[in-house]
């Protein structure tokens, strides 16, 4: 183990783990609305991790595109299709 652990590094690991879990939840979720919200949560976790990595230029672009526009675009698309992913038989649940 390292001789000294910084809070910054623990928080980066924590946020990246959140991002991993939320990505997994996005993949397995059948309700598209929930999947989009999980994905936005993943973007928030990435934003916080990028902030801790001292990359403010990236954060400014990522927070506008990843959290704002990406989520809104997918909600627009979702409003014009089915909310629930179809099961194997082809019938919507």
């Amino acid at each position: 183990m390292p001789e000294q652990v910084y809070l910054c590094h623990v928080l980066i690991a924590l946020f990246m783990t959140y991002a991993l879990i939320l990505t997994y939840k996005t993949l397995v979720e059948r309700d598209m609305l929930k999947a989009i919200i999980y994905s936005a949560g993943q973007a928030v976790a990435y934003t916080l991790a990028l902030t801790l990595l001292a990359a403010p230029d990236l954060v400014l672009a990522y927070v506008a595109v990843g959290v704002g526009m990406y989520t809104a675009l997918f909600l627009f698309v979702l409003s014009r299709t089915e909310r629930f992913e179809a099961v194997q038989g082809g019938e919507a649940t």
Binding site: P2, P56, D57, M69, A72, L73
Partner: protein, 269 residues
């Protein structure tokens, strides 16, 4: 029972991943513990030349990221802007021939509308500050434009599709602003070269500052002496990119906010 088992497995996985990341980061030196005191050689080079007027390669800006984006690798960013422009053109081509529909989304409740109207003032101010200070602080044209586009998105969702179109934000006008931004970028990109050709000297495309072997530059102080630092081409390129990105993304959002019924029969025109 099954859900609890999965939750426990996820919790164990999270713990393992946290510990693994920590040990891995510390061991491989990707993020050394304690953090390294020096910079990598490449970072060192940029940090030592970007705001150092004794260097031949300086870009007159204390913001290293913007210097790299618009000066050191400026042509890359110009091409990125071109690709983005083509993407917008593609989005417009999908919905061509559609008239402004009479059926409109009316917006949300009074509470949401009031709060949105307050934030709608604040977001463009922040966007302009990010874009116009792009040569001094983190940020730049693209970031500012993206933030601005979030404001127009908010206006469409909370205040209805008629809010922007009723204030003259038509498709053609936004496309004109988008094209104006791109033309400004092209103009700034070749301005130093044109100056050099007029003087009969050596010059480059996307040249920013004076160099001993290419003795033209766009200056860096407004007002001379103790004037305002504008970092040569960086300020103008940020401004043009802000114009282009905010108009382009707002246009796409306005098109996406059109009612479904008008899109179904629109292409037959």
């Amino acid at each position: 029972m099954k859900g609890a088992a999965r939750d426990a497995a996820l919790a164990v996985l999270a713990l393992v991943v946290i510990l693994g990341l920590l040990v891995g980061l510390a061991r491989t030196g990707t993020l050394a513990v304690p953090p390294p005191e020096g910079n990598r050689p490449l970072a060192d080079k940029f940090l030592k030349t970007t705001y150092n007027w004794t260097s031949d390669l300086w870009s007159a800006s204390p913001e290293v990221v913007t210097s790299i984006l618009w000066d050191y690798r400026g042509l890359d960013t110009v091409y990125e802007t071109g690709v983005f422009f083509l993407a917008i053109i593609g989005a417009i081509a999908l919905v061509r021939g559609i008239k402004t529909p009479s059926l409109r989304w009316r917006g949300m409740s009074v509470v949401a509308r009031t709060v949105s109207k307050i934030t709608l003032v604040a977001i463009p101010v922040v966007a302009a500050s990010i874009a116009l200070h792009g040569h001094l602080t983190p940020g730049g044209g693209f970031q500012g434009g993206s933030v601005f586009a979030v404001a127009s998105l908010l206006a469409i969702v909370a205040l209805g599709t008629g809010f922007l179109t009723g204030r003259g934000w038509s498709k053609d006008r936004l496309l004109a602003f988008r094209t104006l931004g791109l033309l400004l970028i092209a103009l700034v990109a070749v301005s130093a070269l044109i100056l050099a050709l007029l003087k009969g000297e050596m010059g480059y495309i996307m040249q920013n500052q004076w160099k001993p072997w290419a003795r033209v530059g766009l200056g860096y102080l407004f007002g001379g002496g103790n004037g305002i630092l504008y970092s040569g081409s960086l300020f103008f390129l940020n401004l043009a990119e802000f114009l282009a990105v905010s108009a382009g993304l707002s246009l796409v959002f306005i098109l996406m906010g059109l009612p479904w019924e008008s899109l179904k029969g629109g292409a037959s025109e």
